[in-house]
Amino acid sequence: MTLVEIKSAINSQFPGVIIDNEELGDHQLELNGDKWLDIATFMKEDPILSFDQLECITGYDGGEEAALQTRYNFHSMEHRHKIEIIISHDREEPRVASIEKLWRIGDWFERETYDMFGIIYEGHRDLRRILCPDDWEGWPLRKNYKGQELYHGIVVPKIKEEDGWE
């Protein structure tokens, strides 16, 4: 299926969720995040779409002014077509529905994005940090991230030049 067909399939089921964005590429589709769980369920279970494989979840921080985004790459083993869904979140309080129960790998991918960007996936059963330690501070992949100075008494940043070592 092409993007247009997928687009119309989603649009007929959930009118008005697709956000028009001229900058998007061939396989990309920007959606409104409010009904995301329902749309995802539809995308997985509809026999025409049948996106049975969640390829990747990418967190995205557009910078100070822009929004945080979650980008989902889906692929259908059955029909061999693919699509990328983009959902934007509020910067102050990034929240979106979790799709962890639909695709089991969503569990770890969402945990990773939470760990790196602080995007909260509502309904996730076990939303903890996955790569960084549990007591790590800040969201490392946000553009305004400042690394912490000490971690359990160990110096984190490189020792500065004025200390005589570069």
């Binding site: 900058e23 390829e55 990418t58 995205y60 695709w103 089991r104 790998i105 770890w108 790569l131 330690p133």
Partner: protein, 372 residues
């Protein structure tokens, strides 16, 4: 992890343990020897690949991709440059494509050899591991001859490769293949058809096809479950569509479809397929300049791309966002070992501790790639 009940005990495997293949920690809830739940803890090797890529130029990302999947660095490079070339719409000379395929397949053999050998080690067989490492050493020699590095190559560049093939490389490579092909029989006699090995792996840790797809398991692990999915065939990149090769899938050779033995055996068959590809590719490398289409300055147009390639562990995807500057805005690596590890909990429930080690080994994880 649930509440520990009367007879249960939490066993902590790792981060330092001989068979966690790196620094993985498994929190295992056991009842005697039987495992009731596993909680993997990863991130002990989180080296901030994605943060680094946002701070260095596009060319400089390549050495970091090397270090992610350190067993198949060529394939990591390959995935990145394929994605970049698609983003920049560069057409590379055919010679470059052939060289890349040769290197990628050689590295696939090397990676599978290590995976199979270490798997033998997990089951308790010492000697096959050293035999396989001995033969892997010869592949590394060829890489060293080509680009000077043994393990982390930084060989494939956007638009080309760093060095042309050295003198007589084709002959050396064919010599190696002639030497190597009979060795597979030795491995089979020593390990694959060993009764104890079959007993330990057949019927253990079955991943049904639908579970595998839901967990995003790819590569040999998915194919062992019977799903015929290989990016080289289904979404061909480079010049893979010019070669004739089969995609081996699991057949339940000694047990159930999708068990540990199938995952082991699919890798063994893939080595043979790689040899087939290599023989075809080595016979027909066109001549040309490998540097001619390397751009002076890499400045991709604004936009983003998600491209996956077939690394020895499965679908290796790169999500690259460009904002028009020479520094990537965002690079995300979709790691196949990450998804493979995530299904460990579901697959190992009800098996014994020894089986958990067997299942973990059969998934062939590389922690560098999981934690990035």
């Amino acid at each position: 992890m649930g509440v520990v009940k009367g007879d249960q005990m939490i066993l902590n495997i790792g981060p330092q343990h001989p068979s966690t293949h790196g620094v993985l920690r498994l929190e295992v809830m056991t009842d005697g020897e039987i495992v009731s739940q596993i909680r993997p803890h990863i991130g002990y090797l989180h080296r901030c690949f994605e943060k680094h890529s946002e701070n260095v130029t596009y060319e400089q990302v390549i050495p970091f991709t090397d270090r992610c999947d350190y067993l198949a660095s060529m394939n990591s490079n390959f995935g990145y440059v394929v994605a970049m070339e698609e983003l920049m719409e560069i057409k590379v000379p055919e010679r470059v494509d052939y060289i890349r395929v040769v290197m990628g397949e050689l590295n696939r053999i090397a990676s599978h050899l290590l995976a199979l050998g270490v798997y033998g080690l997990d089951i308790g067989a010492f000697t096959p591991f050293l035999y396989m490492l001995r033969d892997r050493e010869r592949i590394l020699d060829m890489f060293e001859y080509t680009c000077g590095a043994r393990l982390l190559y930084n060989y494939m560049w956007v638009g080309g490769v760093s060095h042309d093939l050295p003198k007589d490389f084709e002959k050396i490579c064919i010599d190696f293949l002639d030497y190597f092909e009979p060795q597979i029989k030795e491995y089979n006699n020593l390990l694959s058809f060993n009764k104890i090995f079959v007993e330990r792996t057949a019927d253990v840790g079955v991943i049904p096809a639908d579970v595998a797809v839901s967990y995003g398991v790819t590569g040999p692990n998915l194919r062992a479950s019977g799903v015929k999915w290989d990016v080289r065939k289904d979404e061909p990149y480079s010049v893979y569509d010019k070669f004739e090769f089969d995609v081996p899938t699991g057949t339940g050779k000694f047990g159930t479809l999708g068990d540990c033995y199938d995952r082991y055996w699919v890798r063994m068959l893939e080595i043979k397929e790689s040899i087939r590809i290599l023989r075809q590719a080595l016979g027909s490398i066109p001549s040309g300049d490998v540097h001619q289409s390397i751009p002076k300055k890499i400045r991709p147009p604004k936009g983003s791309i998600y491209r996956r390639t077939e690394s020895p562990r499965g679908d290796l995807g790169y999500y690259i966002v460009s904002d028009g500057t020479p520094v990537p805005f965002r690079v995300k690596m979709r790691s196949p070992a990450f998804t493979a590890l995530s299904c460990l909990d579901e697959v190992s429930r009800g098996w014994m501790i020894s089986d958990v080690i067997a299942i973990l080994g059969s998934l062939d994880i590389v922690l560098g790639e999981i934690d990035r």
